[in-house]
Amino acid sequence: MRHPVLKMEGISKEFPGVKALSNVSFELYPGEVHALMGENGAGKSTLMKILSGVYSPTQGTIRLKGKEVTFGNPLDAQRQGVSIIHQEFNLFSNLTAAENIFIDRPEMVGRFGRIQWSKMYDEAQRLVDSIGGGEIDVRKEVRHLGVHSQQVIEIAKALSFQADVLIMDEPSAALPENEVKKMFDVVNRLRAQGVAIVYVSHRMKEIFEIADKVTVLRDGAKIDTRGIEEVTEQSLIQMMVGKEVGQLYPVREQKQGQEAVLQVKQLSLDSVHHVSFELRRGEILGLFGVPGSGTHTIAERLFGLKRGTGEITIRGAAVKINSPSQAKAKKIAYVPPDRHRQGIIKPMSIRQNLSIPMLPQLSKYTVLDEARITEMSREYMEKLRIKAPNDGQSVDFLSGGNQQKVVIGKWLAANPDILILEEPTRGVDVGAKAEIYHIIHQLAQEGLSILLISSEMPEVIGLSDRILVLYKGTIVHEFAHGEADQEQLLQRASHPLSEGGHL
C-alpha cells in the first residue's frame, strides 16, 4: 500500500461572513495527476491557496509525507515541497530563464555575494531538459520565449524546490491548442518522476485525457473523489452543479416583444468568428462560455472598445461604434466585469460616480446643474436600494454589492436602450445578488434590452430568456427559455462536439 504524499484533513476556511470551505479532506499520492473540479465559487481556489500557503485554514490539518505541517507563506510551502503554477505566469520577462528559475536563491550565491552564473545556467538547463524542454536556451531572456516555454520555466522553477506536490491552475488556459499536447508531455514526465500533481481545470476533455483521479467540490464542500474510469462527463457535471437553482431568481414573465433592438451580423475580431445574433426589446439574452470563449470580446466590441468586421444594426439602422462615447450616443450601456478597475471611481462620492456618464445632460454650458444631479442621484439610490447615509458618501466606503449598484445605476441614469451586463454580481454577497437580480428583471420588464454575460451558470439560467453558448469564438448552441439546465449548458460550453441529448 502506497502512502499519500499529501493528506489534508477536515479543512475549513471562514472569511468574515462566508464559509468558503467546510470540512474538506483531500489525499494525493506520488505520481498521480489529480483533477480538482468545481464551479466558480465552489472552493477550488481557496483550497489551493491553503495548500500553497497563501491562506491558513480555520480548521483542519495538512500532512506532508506523514508529517504535520503549517505554511506561513507561499515561499514556506515551496521550501517544504508544495509549489503552485498560476494561470497567469509570474515570470520576470526582462531576466533570463535561468535567473527566473533561481531568483533570489542562496544556493546560487558564492563567496563575497557573487552569483555563480555557470552553476545557475547548468542547473537550470538540467532542470529544463528533465521535463523535455531541451530546446529552450536558459540564457535567453524570458520575453523572447513562447508561452509553452514560459510554462516549462514555471514548472522548472517549481521543481527546483524539489517539489513533491505541484499545483497547476488552469494550465491550458494560456496555451494555444497545439501546445496543450506538449504540456501533457511535460505532465507525463513529472508523473513518471513521482511528482504528485493537482490539476485544476474546467476543461472536461483534458481531464479525461490526463487525470488519474478527480475530486469535485461544490459550495465549499467535497462531493467525492473518484478514479477517472469511474466517472463520465455527465456524472461529473452532475456532481459539480448539484440540483436546483434557488429562489434567488424572480419569475420571468415572457413579456418581451419581437422587435429586434440590436442585430449583430457576422461579427469577427480577435478570437471571435462570424457571430450573429439579435437582441429583442425587453429581452434578457444570456451569453455563456468558458473563459476565452469570446463573450468578453463581444461585449468590448459592442461598446466600441475594440474594432472588428461585421455589421451592427440598431432598430434596423446600421451603426458604427468605435468608441465608448459613440456607443453611449447609440444608447448602449456597459457594466464591465471588473468593478474596481473599470467601474467605480474610488475617490469620488456616490453622486459624482452616478453622474459621470451623464455629464453633458446634467450641465448647461459646461456648468453642472447640482439640483438635477441631486434629484437624479436620489432617484437611482432609491431605485437600486443603494445603502448609504447620503449621496455624498465616498464609494470607497461601500460594500461590494452597493458599489456594483452604483456602477449599474450610473448607466441606468444614462437611460439606455441596450444594457450589456458583464459579471454583474462578481464579488457580491448573496443578499445583494438577489437584489441585483430583481433589478435586472425589473429593467427588462420596463422594456430595456439586456445582454447578460456571466460565468455563473445559475445566474445565466435563472435570468435569461434565451441563452447563446459560445465555444472558441463561435456560437455553438441556443437554448430557448426554460430549456437549459446547468449540465447541458456546461456541456455545450466545454465540449460542444458531443451530443447533449442522451442525458
Partner: protein, 320 residues
C-alpha cells in the same frame, strides 16, 4: 469639530495656522500687514502656475517643464518689448507662446501617449534651450514704463498681479468644482479605465489641461517679467516645477491623481511662502530654507496619509 477635520484641506489649514503662530512668536515683524502683503506678492507666480500643476497632478500626471515655459515666455516678451511692440500686445503674444508650449506637451502626452515625465523632461530642456538661444545669452531688461504695470501696478487698492491671481484662482476653483471639465479631470485621475468606459474623452481632457497649464504659465511669466524688471533666460523659473509640485502635495494632492483641490494647493503655496519668509525674518539663516521645505513636504505627506488611513478605518475590505 469632527466635520472640520474631515474637510479635505484640514491638515494644511492647521499647518498654516501653526507656522503662522510660531513665526508671530519668534518675530514681531512677521504679523505685519506689510510683511503679509510681501509674502503674497513674492509668490504670485507660484500661485498661478500651481493652479495648472494641480490639474495636471489631479489627472495623475506631472509637468516638469513649467519653469522652462516661464523662461521662454518671459524672454520672448522681453524681445518683443525691445522691438518696440506695445506692452499689451507683447504680453498677449507671450501668453500665446505659453499656450503653444502647453499644446506641444499636450500633443505628445495625450495624443501620442508618451509618458508625461519623459515628455516634460524633454521639453524642459527644449524650452529652456530656446529661451537661452533667442536671448543670445543676455539679460532682458529696460522694460518700458507701460509694461511695469503688469507687475507693479495697482488696481482697486490691491496690486495688479494679486488681482489677476485672485481672479484666476476663483475661476479655476469654480471650474474644478462646478463644471464638467473639473469632473472629467477628477474621474480620469481617479480611475482612467472607468472614465474611458463612461464615454469621457481622456485624450481631449488631458490635452486641454496641458494647454490650460501653458496658458497659466504664460500669464504668470508676464507678471514675473514685469515684476522683476529683468529676465535671464538661463535661470528664470529654474526649480519652479519642483516647488510647485511640492505645494500641490503639501496642499493634499495625491501624486497618483484623483485627489486634491485648487484651494488646498493655494494654501500649500502660501504655506511654503510663509515658511521661507518666516525663516528669514526670524533670523534663521536663509541657507536652511531648502532643507526646511523638504522636511515639511515629508511631514505634510505623512499627515495627509494619516488622515486618509483614519478615514479608511471602519471600512470593510482591505487597505492594501
Amino acid at each position: 469639530m469632527k466635520r472640520l477635520l474631515n474637510v479635505h484641506e484640514a491638515p494644511i489649514i492647521l499647518f498654516t495656522i501653526l507656522v503662522t503662530l510660531l513665526f508671530s512668536i519668534l518675530s514681531p515683524d512677521f504679523m505685519q500687514v506689510e510683511n503679509i502683503r510681501l509674502i503674497l506678492d513674492q509668490n504670485i507666480t507660484m500661485f498661478i502656475v500651481a493652479i495648472g500643476m494641480t490639474m495636471v497632478i489631479l489627472l495623475g500626471g506631472m509637468d516638469l517643464s513649467v519653469g522652462s515655459v516661464l523662461a521662454v515666455t518671459a524672454t520672448s516678451v522681453g524681445l518683443f518689448l525691445s522691438h518696440g511692440i506695445h506692452p499689451w500686445i507683447a504680453a498677449a503674444m507671450g501668453i500665446c507662446i505659453g499656450v503653444l508650449c502647453g499644446m506641444v506637451n499636450g500633443y505628445f502626452i495625450a495624443v501620442r501617449k508618451i509618458p508625461d515625465i519623459i515628455v516634460t523632461l524633454a521639453t524642459m530642456y527644449i524650452f529652456r534651450g530656446i529661451a537661452v538661444g533667442i536671448s543670445g545669452g543676455t539679460w532682458m531688461t529696460n522694460f518700458p514704463e507701460g509694461f511695469r504695470f503688469f507687475g507693479q501696478g495697482n488696481l482697486l487698492g490691491i496690486s495688479f498681479p494679486l488681482f489677476i491671481a485672485v481672479i484666476l484662482i476663483a475661476i479655476f476653483i469654480y471650474v474644478m468644482k462646478f463644471t464638467r471639465v473639473g469632473r472629467r479631470v477628477y474621474s480620469i485621475g481617479g480611475n482612467g479605465p472607468a472614465a474611458k468606459l463612461a464615454g469621457i474623452s481622456v485624450v481631449r481632457t488631458k490635452f486641454k489641461v496641458y494647454v490650460l497649464t501653458g496658458l497659466l504659465v504664460g500669464i504668470a511669466s508676464v507678471i514675473f517679467a514685469a515684476k522683476v524688471g529683468s529676465v535671464q533666460a538661463s535661470t528664470a523659473g529654474s526649480g519652479l516645477a519642483f516647488e510647485v509640485m511640492a505645494a500641490v502635495l503639501i496642499g493634499g494632492g495625491s501624486i497618483f491623481g484623483g485627489v486634491g483641490t485648487i484651494a488646498g494647493t493655494m494654501l500649500g503655496v502660501l504655506f511654503m511662502g510663509i515658511v521661507k519668509n518666516g525663516l528669514i525674518i526670524s533670523k534663521v539663516s536663509p541657507f536652511w530654507v531648502d532643507a526646511a521645505t523638504g522636511f515639511l513636504i515629508i511631514l505634510a505627506i505623512v499627515i495627509n496619509t494619516l488622515q486618509r488611513i483614519r478615514q479608511n478605518k471602519g471600512k470593510e475590505g482591505d487597505l492594501v
